[in-house]
Amino acid sequence: MAALAIICALVGGWEAYAQWGGVDDFILPAPSEIAAALFDDRSLLLRDTLVTAQEIVFGLVIALILGALLALVMHLSKALRGAAWPLLVASQAIPVAVIAPLLVTWWGFGIAPKLFVVAIVCYFPVVVTTLGALRSIDPDLHKLLRTLGATRWQRMRYAEIPAALPAALAGAKIAVAIGSIAAVFAEYTGSSEGLGHQLLRSLPQLETARAWAAVVILAALSLICFYALQFAERHLAPWAHRRKDHV
């Protein structure tokens, strides 16, 4: 209730300032104007939303799978772990602004370069959290499983993969916020549709309310992805929230 009141007060304050504060509505549109733009331009925005939602969701899924697999491989091989860390950190230092236009020249205006950008930005937190969970498995558990006759694959299947699952999802949750920014950015550098493309087109046309409407939708997409991952975590790995001690 308190949270709702705070949000209402903030939006109300914004509305009052935009209405009576003498600000031009193409500089700062009031929430009511944004809401009107959401409604008036709904068919246009819906088309763009579907495009961007696909980029974010599929990009996140790729990041989740790629990140978890990388973490597993790095967990299994000390040599690979040593070699991969600097490369992974370096991959995060690549300015997306530099490679995104290149991707467009290689792969065109379609979804592929967008997925690449979202995935490359989002996979890193997944690797970090997943590898952390794999490394923190109690060494006694490995001993126990070995004396029970478990093969390497069985130890992975019964101990490591279940321990990694909630951590990978937690990493993806961290990545959600930067994922939507990455999708918008990828659209900036070359696309004919999507919310980022819409932003880029609306602002020069002084359709500020429509641009803000796109931002509101982006925020909503991030929230939906975040809670979807939370839901998956609770249902696929209920123990992660219940256990008092760890394995």
Binding site: D138, D140, W239, V247
Partner: protein
């Protein structure tokens, strides 16, 4: 499986083991007959857990030899897997070998865990968790059980109940048991022999036979006397 006519189930001969410069086990010889229960007592950090690792072939000695039948380790903490229910945890060794898991049901009953088969691990009390861990250890079918402070984390009442249950379980299906404990009374109550180790590096100070009939009670005069003897050896 135990070789016919084997006279020893576990044999450590002049075993030495160090981690880097740190010598933890020094010239230890221990012999355990099939079906015998051996308690290893000694100050903490003296290398008792290393001895269990050696018997379980999780480590190799630097020198000396370790001969042992297939041994299963029960670590100090129960280490139940939270992504499996109580029954699945107990049945894990059967699953790993691809065997029929129905015997796990009966074992849960014997351990007084009926009705909790499908409970989540976090819903079980400490004593129940330990019993599930015991069920898992026994269902491994290994002829040698290596128990690392199996009752360490339990309260006195729960511990007494589990002592009784373990004594009964071993009477009906004998196994060779090597268990590490801090609790001298527990050692005298459960074991046929008590091996007293020195502070690190572990050496055998004395092996004390416990030729007492079962069931034993902590208040029996013989138990009290042997307890005093073990404590004297440790001092």
């Amino acid at each position: 499986m135990r070789a016919e006519g084997a006279v020893t189930s576990v044999q450590l001969e002049r075993v030495r083991r160090s981690y880097g410069d740190l010598l933890v086990v020094d010239d230890v010889s221990i012999e355990v007959a099939p079906g015998e229960v051996i308690a290893i007592v000694g100050p903490s950090g003296c290398g008792k857990s290393t001895l269990l690792d050696l018997i379980c072939k999780l480590q190799a000695p630097d020198s000396g030899s370790v001969t042992a039948e297939r041994a299963v380790l029960m670590p100090q903490r129960d280490l139940l897997l939270p992504w499996m229910n109580a029954l699945q945890n107990a049945a894990l060794p059967l699953k790993l070998r691809g065997e029929d898991e129905s015997s796990a049901h009966a074992m849960m009953g014997e351990l007084g865990l009926d009705g909790f088969e499908h409970a989540h691990v976090w819903e079980l009390s400490g004593g129940m968790r330990q019993r599930v861990a015991f069920a898992r250890t026994l269902l491994s079918g290994a002829p040698v059980l290596c128990l690392d402070e199996p009752f360490g984390a339990l309260d006195a009442i729960t511990r007494a109940g589990l002592h009784e249950w373990l004594a009964g379980a071993l009477a009906s299906t004998p196994r060779t048991v090597v268990f590490v404990t801090h609790d001298v009374e527990e050692a005298v109550l459960l074991a046929d022999h008590v091996v007293v180790l020195s502070p690190r590096p572990a050496r055998v100070i004395e092996t004390i036979a416990v030729p007492l009939a079962r069931p034993r009670r902590g208040t029996d005069a013989d138990v009290v006397a042997l307890r005093a003897r073990v404590l004297a050896a440790m001092a």
